[in-house]
Amino acid sequence: MLPASAVVPSKFRLTQDMFMEKLIWLIPILPLLGFFILGLGASKLSKGLAGIVGCATILIAFALSLGLAGSVFASGKLEQTLFNWVSSGAWTVDFGFLVDPLSLIMMLVITGVGALIHIYSTGYMHDDERHNYFFAYLNLFVFFMLLLVMSNNYLLLFAGWEGVGLCSYLLIGFWFKVDEYNEAAKKAFVMNRIGDLGFLLGLFLILVNFGTLNYDGVFDSTVLSQISVGTLTVITLLFIVGAAGKSAQIPLYTWLPDAMAGPTPVSALIHAATMVTAGIYLTIRSHALFDLAPISMEVLTYLGLATSIFAATIGLKQNDIKKVLAYSTVSQLGLMFFALGMGAYVAAFFHLVTHAFFKALLFLGAGSVIHGLGGEQDIRKMGALRKVLPITYIVFLIGTLAIAGIPPFAGFVSKDQILLAAYEKSPLLFALGVFASLLTVFYMFRMFFLVFYGQNRVNHDTLHHAHESPLSMTLPLGILAGLSVIGGILNWPSLMGGGDWLQHTLSGVLGTPEGAEHAHAISASTEWTLMAIVVALVVVVIGLAYSIYVNRNTVPVEDEAEEGFGRVLSHKYFVDELYAALFVKPTQAISEWFGRIVDPKILDGAINGIGQSILTMGSVLKNIQQGAVGLYLFVFAVGIIILLALQILF
């Protein structure tokens, strides 16, 4: 692959660099502007105009990010500081941007996939009465997410981190008239907050130990060498807590399936492609800290692996089309954490990008199915839809093949690199990773066959009205499908003739020397063998799913009829019930107790008590002024005695 510097002639590039560098701030500001215009003018703008404004801001941001690409990939990084934000004694924090290859690729994913989802939403949310607010919130989300990835210090990252949590809440509970959705939004926000607490504690520790929150102050190797490993371990473990909250790992994952209450474009953008990847981004950005804390890396590995397998098993028994995809997201994020824990940052990031493509595709495809069937989401009530929704069928197939890991689709390339990194660590980890992947293949194809093949179980009226989605929805689907097919070239392995482009580009960010990535611990022939084994197993599992769900036309039973381990799985291992009993109910009981006893009796009592005591004191003191002359004389005499005593005795 050609380096970018060869594409643009050098004399043009210099002026272009300086010009583009000044426009860095526009990239996040445009969506913010979009938010204000759409938010303030929501009642006045027509739906068409609002859709255009909402999509335009993101598209222009995407174009600007592309424009920066050339100079960033050539020169390493661009920086821009807008203004000094916090200045407290020796500690200062700027509102500054850092655009290096890592953040630039994130920006491209956010604005690119984001733009496609915006265009999709013009079709999907067309009939919604709060259509304009939807675009306002989406734009606000993109602003915060860009802030998160573009910041050059942890504080601005945290601001973006919190902001995306807020937008997630707003968008999950978008149809706020349904109570259930509000509960889901609250759950997402509260669980995010728990993670944020860990993250914040980590930030405090960094500030105490490093004295600064700027990246160049924290990632300085001379400074890092003076910090004890124990401190770094604690900091990174706290970061893991924050990442687990944001990226839905055990034990803070239960909000993601419930978040499917939001409109499907929200699930695609926030809960597949961008917000949930913030945890991964944070870890890669802080790799300098994690590299020095091996215990945290171990934690990441096993946490990711456990989450991946756990969520995949739950997915086997889910019957809502979006819930299957939600658990699949949790599982894939687990895989990414698994990769991070083993030090395979490039593999994890590559999987992040490809996952954004095919998961967004799958969610939007699911949205297309739901839209076409007028709102039906239970896959037991679908079937044989490939004739009714042909375009959706094709893109969904592409997405499913990508996530399963069939070559040459994008998912294969990225997942394979993760599994290879696992094999380098230990064959057992490799086997477990393969097991998680196979589970993924099975439940994804289970869903695919139940929706598009088999007997038609759709409700008669719904079938009558079923229709393929409009162009505004199918166009983004097509583009994402294309990306899922060719996305692998971003880091096509040298083994198979590619140039490891992503690895080269990120080597500057990760600090790995240029030649190091070519030195693999395992030989080329072992790599080919492992790849072949994995692909073969995948094909076997697809065949198994086909035979169960197409040939034998098995339909999952009603929820109440599940028994044994299947029942445990379909009830998600009863984790929600466990959390409710352990945390939610006691907290509610304490709150109720506070509201009943502490607030009115103790707090109000104290305040009123002060007032009452003053009144009482007044009514006692007023006796002095009644005009009792005898008392006055007595006090007079006593005063004189005291004064004399003081005078004489001292």
């Binding site: 007023k622 002024q625 009644q626 005009g627 009792a628 002359v629 005898g630 004389l633 007595f634 005499a637």
Partner: protein
């Protein structure tokens, strides 16, 4: 007359004055009749007068006696006014009880 201090030490004069003063003070605090309170005040003033004269004689300085003179003038003025006020109070509340004017009570 010869010097009294040859036979009676100065301390006894002081003691007598002190006794009269304290008796007067008890009278002020003890009685509820305004007239008696006034008279007790006069008693206290006179105790002080005695002390001043005793010291004046002891030290051979007339200033003490001049001060006694002034004290008497002030006492006279005070009694005049005090009794006038007392008469006015009596005209209003028909009583010379010092607690009779306890009308500031709410």
């Amino acid at each position: 007359m010869e010097n009294i201090f040859n036979v009676v030490p100065l301390e006894h004069f002081v003691l007598l004055s002190l006794a009269l003063f304290c008796i007067g003070m008890v009278g002020v605090l003890l009685r509820r009749n305004m007239i008696v309170v006034f008279m007790s005040i006069e008693l206290m003033l006179n105790a002080v007068n005695l002390l001043a004269v005793a010291f004046s004689a002891h030290r051979g300085d007339s200033s003490g006696q001049v001060f006694v003179f002034f004290v008497m003038v002030v006492a006279a003025a005070e009694v005049a006014l005090g009794l006038a006020i007392l008469v006015m109070i009596y005209r209003n509340v028909k009583s010379v009880d010092i607690n009779a004017l306890k009308q500031l009570k709410w």
